[in-house]
């Protein structure tokens, strides 16, 4: 790694920092100049669920791999984790139960393959 790479990396980090600040703070700082109607504001109530789903789904169902994708260990274990939540209502049981289910399913599929 030469110094050239470090300058490049520093540049990338600084640019990403700028982009973090701009996206997070612009509206909070200058929002009075772009007032939103009540209906738009109430529509934004749906943003949290949509954003989280958008982060989680590609992790569970990656596009590559064709039809095998739906029945991958990650998606199956996630289903087990959701069922676990319905029974227990606890976050920890979702994470621990989901992990155990994942290890089991992954291990079983590994033995079959």
């Amino acid at each position: 790694m030469g110094t050239g790479f470090d300058t490049y990396l520093l540049g990338a980090i600084v640019l990403l920092t700028v982009c973090s600040i701009l996206t997070r703070c612009t509206y909070l700082l200058f929002g009075d100049r772009f007032p939103l109607s009540e209906s738009v504001r109430s529509a934004l109530r749906f943003a949290p669920v949509a954003a989280l789903a958008a982060i989680v789904v590609p992790e569970l169902f990656p596009l590559e791999g064709g039809s095998a994708v739906v029945f991958n260990p990650r998606a199956l274990a996630a289903l087990a984790a959701v069922l676990m939540f319905w029974r227990t209502r606890s976050t920890l049981s979702v994470i621990l139960g989901g992990m155990v289910a994942f290890w089991l399913i992954d291990g079983l599929l590994g033995m079959v393959a």
């Binding site: 109430s42 954003a51 989280l52 982060i55 989680v56 569970l60 976050t91 994942f102 290890w103």
Partner: protein, 244 residues
């Protein structure tokens, strides 16, 4: 500092903190996994530390890492980071009315501290409030945002410096996904929310092939629109004669 807090401020802060405990597990896991990912992609420990403390945006960092490793041009890294972070603009628009009465310095700090979890929990608690801009809302927000910042960075640093101790076969990144899943499920209580979840998921799945993770933004917009549509359908059904 703590001594100067009023009773109401402290109560709201602790209320936020209590509601955030489960979600903080998700923050910790993501932070840890992101720390590991930075070192694995070839960043030195000090550069990874700098990135964590300055950027404080896991999804943008994870998107940028392969681009940096491939030596992509800086403008592309900036564009990718901006698109992944674009949801924060939407979050900011939703949060602005609650904090518009504060000084710009305070709004800047609140903005810097925000994150997915903070926004999710805050809106779940206060989206339907009649009174907006209360002391309780500000300190509830801080009760999630400040611990969130701390937990993220501490666990990111742990991932950077001690991540090698965890065997890759444990698939810890999957625990991070599960933790987010645990945050989503309790939020989906109404039919419009179900619509929002289904459409956002479908778009997120189909749009994975889009460059620069544009799929993330597309899914958020589609999910919000689906939720609004679901709400309109529900309202019409409730107002039609014969509905119970």
């Amino acid at each position: 500092m703590a001594g100067r807090l009023t009773h109401a401020q402290r109560r709201a802060f602790l209320f936020g903190l209590r509601e955030a405990t489960a979600a903080l597990v998700a923050v910790a896991t993501w932070g840890f996994v992101t720390g590991i990912a930075m070192v694995q992609s070839g960043l030195s420990e000090s550069m990874a530390t700098l990135m964590t403390l300055m950027v404080y945006a896991g999804s943008a960092q994870l998107t940028a890492l392969p681009l940096i490793a491939a030596h992509a041009p800086l403008w592309l890294i900036f564009a990718a980071g901006t698109i992944v972070n674009m949801r924060f603009v939407i979050f900011g628009a939703a949060l602005h009315p609650y904090f518009r009465h504060l000084s710009w310095r305070r709004r800047l700090v609140l903005g810097l501290l925000t994150g997915d979890i903070v926004f999710v929990l805050f809106m779940a608690r206060f989206a339907g409030s009649r009174r907006i801009g209360t002391v309780q809302q500000l300190w509830y927000y801080l009760g999630i945002a400040a611990p969130g910042w701390l937990v993220w960075n501490v666990f990111s640093l742990l991932g950077i410096y001690a991540g090698g101790l965890i065997p890759a076969s444990w698939s810890l990144d999957y625990a991070a996904v599960l933790a987010l899943l645990a945050v989503i499920i309790p939020l989906v209580k109404s039919r419009p929310m179900v619509m929002c979840l289904i459409v956002a998921s479908a778009v997120a799945w189909l749009a994975q092939a889009l460059p620069l993770r544009l799929g993330l933004l597309a899914a958020v917009i589609a999910g919000v629109l689906a939720g609004v549509l679901g709400e309109m359908v529900e309202r019409r059904r409730n107002s039609s004669p014969g509905a119970h």
